[in-house]
Symmetry: C2
Subunit: 304 residues, 2 copies
């Protein structure tokens, strides 16, 4: 089934306790589309870059079955740029620099072929841009997922709530779920957030895994304990890409398949963090992904 | 099979965002023995209290099949006392007061019947006291587990390493595993700690669950997402008590049974945090425990 993904395609400067990477490929939509491309083709992206964005990466995305018709390339302008520094525990990071560049005036335009997707992933962006995407759809997708962050809760709550009301799946981290709901207990937070619109709430906890809440049911997926975590950038987007890619591939939104999709998303995220930027997401094989999913199964297996 | 548990029996003052409890029953050995008593009888405890410790609690422990022959009751002295305050996230706490009282001069003496236990749980105490217990054993137990904390790593590392060398299972939290091993990755930390002695490493992550490492194999048990967490005090000890109690009941230290034991420990801990002090650990039934274990199974279940 068809998947449309909206979000940034960008450059990052990244500093972690294990090294630095300068002006590397980043952006939510890059991670989402790469991860999803292992499950479904085409992944249609809606984004914007300047003419500084490397041709080779665009070619690579096309080769992986990513449809770039919805990617605006602005001559004479620069791509979105983010610089961040991670602390020792890799769970906290500081933003050192944000240069909106092309993103400052981004007005998403969906090509005709994009307007009836069965699955839609709204990556983290201004709620207004997310809304403008929704308004161009000619048909309600089978499933709409959105990512957002505390920044929009602090600065654009009213618009944010409008988007949240229209989606099926909200993916946020635990602190954001607490902020959005005003509840400390994630069980209570989920109930409040369900009332806002999303039937499914995915709470991302980084190295502590992810929770899926739906109608009083809860599923927990661990993160895979890894010997080397080099760079967590993009792990949440990669998770979302694997999750939505798997759902779009199977076309099945039953809770048992959603559980599986969460595991596939977690498996893709576990690859992502093993190298800087999108490096580890290039050249994976179905066998490598299956093997990793099996590791998740072994990790939590017990019999009672 | 027989279980001996060593640790504090004490009073706590506890402040959480949800309330206060003053001079309530606490102590590692209290939590361990209560949790274990749901699986195996007798649980033989080695500890010390003053004559201020309530007779009714001692009677209750006896009624639950806890053998108090190894509990020293010191006339005219006061029991160990700890006061702590939890912050909003319940993951961090400050110690407000510690009064060692009877613990300052505690010299554990194992009654004859205690000297050949099949399972031994060394709760968090001075490493020297833990060593003195080990030195009184007439026979190597089938399994020795120990708990410890960063305080002993900072102040008594040399003695601590001597105890660690002699045990099969070490239970510590993630930050302590990192401190003890000098490795940030828990996978690498486990390898370093295995070299120090323990064949099994249990890393407790509070609301983020627990990991069990053994010979390159890793098992992850989530914490149960709860609507109400009132007081995390004693959750780690309750976990250890459920874990060792289940192992002592079954007498089976295969990895598949260790996985199950971790789940039983996690289930007991999930009860513990629902009320202040040991309140929730009184009056549980086997059916309630089975039901909760089933919830853990449902929580992580997926098919690939």
């Amino acid at each position: 089934m068809s998947l449309v993904a909206v979000g940034t395609v960008a450059f990052d400067d990244i500093e972690t306790p294990f090294g630095r990477a300068e002006k590397v490929i980043g952006g939510a939509c890059t991670y989402i589309s790469l991860a999803a491309s292992y499950f479904v083709k085409p992944v249609r992206i809606v984004s914007v870059v300047g003419d500084d964005f490397p041709e080779e990466m665009l070619d690579y995305l096309k080769k992986r079955g990513v449809d770039l018709d919805g990617l605006q390339i602005r001559p004479g302008e620069k791509s979105f740029f983010w610089a961040g520094k991670y602390y020792r525990d890799l769970n906290t990071r500081d933003t050192l620099d944000t240069q909106l560049n092309v993103l400052a005036t981004f007005d998403p335009v969906l090509p005709e072929a994009y307007r009836r997707p069965e699955f839609l992933m709204l990556g983290n962006l201004t709620p207004q841009v997310q809304l403008r995407v929704l308004n161009q759809l000619k048909q309600r997708p089978k499933l709409i997922a959105m990512d957002t962050m505390n920044f929009w809760m602090n600065t654009a709550m009213s618009d944010l709530l409008k988007v949240i009301k229209k989606v099926d799946v909200l993916t946020i981290n635990d602190e954001e779920a607490r902020q959005l709901s005003g509840e400390h207990s994630l069980v209570k937070a989920a109930k409040v957030i369900h009332q806002m619109g999303p039937r499914y709430l995915v709470i991302k906890k980084g190295e502590h895994g992810a929770l899926l809440f739906h109608r009083g049911e809860v599923f927990f997926a661990p993160a895979l304990p890894l010997a080397e975590v080099i760079d967590p950038t993009g792990a949440g987007d990669t998770f979302a890409g694997g999750f939505m890619g798997y759902l779009a591939k199977t076309g099945d939104t039953s809770m048992s398949n959603m559980r599986r999709a969460i595991i596939y998303g977690s498996a893709m995220a576990s690859f992502c963090v093993e190298k800087f930027s999108v490096e580890r997401l290039q050249g994976l094989t179905p066998a490598m992904i299956r093997k990793r999913v099996q590791q998740f199964s072994d990790l939590v297996h017990f019999e009672i």
